[in-house]
Symmetry: C2
Subunit: 205 residues, 2 copies
Amino acid sequence: MTMTLHEFAPSGNCYKIRLIAALTGRTLNRRHYDILNGETRTPAFLREINANGRIPVLELEDGRKLPESNAALFYLAQGSPYWPADAWTQARVLQWLFFEQYSHEPNIATPRFWLAHVGADNLSDLQRALLPGKMAQGHAALQLMEDALTATPWLVDSIPTIADIALYAYTHVAPDAGFDLDRYPHIQAWLARVERLPGYQPMTV
Amino acid sequence: MTMTLHEFAPSGNCYKIRLIAALTGRTLNRRHYDILNGETRTPAFLREINANGRIPVLELEDGRKLPESNAALFYLAQGSPYWPADAWTQARVLQWLFFEQYSHEPNIATPRFWLAHVGADNLSDLQRALLPGKMAQGHAALQLMEDALTATPWLVDSIPTIADIALYAYTHVAPDAGFDLDRYPHIQAWLARVERLPGYQPMTV
């Protein structure tokens, strides 16, 4: 028996779960949903998979379900070095995970979804009006990471944790939304470091 | 020596840290910043307190600093029943904490800040255009909580955890942003349950 990932494959939030699974030696069943056609908003999905109408959802072998990508990262990293042992280090890992969902994802993943999946010509007026502010805040989030990675090779001290996995997911595809990563040399070196981790798998597998 | 909370007192993100401290029998020093006058964006704040320019920041006795309200909740709840012992229950607590920052806070706390602190007459055209969508998504977040609280007395099973503390903070002041909680009887009963926890302190202390 293996766990199942309910996902939309191009989503970084889904990819981060596949990546931690690969890094910790697990195989996941994968079930695909077309979010562009509302497949995560059907009554059956809302009732059986996630009342919040979102992917990813990690389903355990016995059918228990866990929404929220970073909660799944936490769960799959248990017992591995990607979830460090002491509470202060854990708190700093969580600091980055909350930063990812509040300051990074809405400003990098959302523009990427709009531009690479919805299409620039199909955006609403409101989406178009939001884009410049999101790009500015996305660059601010990248700059914060750049500054942190100037001090240490990984986001929390000297070992890779799920903080790095969570933030790798949408950072490495930020150019899809027009973010030029040439401005962030320490981020680029860190991306390459993630890609050399034993068991690493790219997004497109 | 006690820890210090760098805060803006009316912020629910700051209140949740004061609340878990009270519930776990701690006293915190409090240092106030006027976010309406940019006091968390000064060079000194960015350098010494939080490079992300936000409050709250929890400062330990030895000067180490922890941004992100829910990371501080995690840290202060260690060793208490508010952070349960097994990994699956912990993952579900984190699920709610990420839901709070991604689906609840931007749609309830942000409208509250705009309406109660910035003032309806001072909103930008973009803020005004965003408000109806945020109110709709805020109600969706409240409905999700209502449904969960129909099944169990607390968000995760039958004991209060930091999931409840995190979501109490902005839910109980959601009427400041025009959310009518009469529509959510199970939320109202849960709010009252939180307010009966030993050590509970209101937001305005």
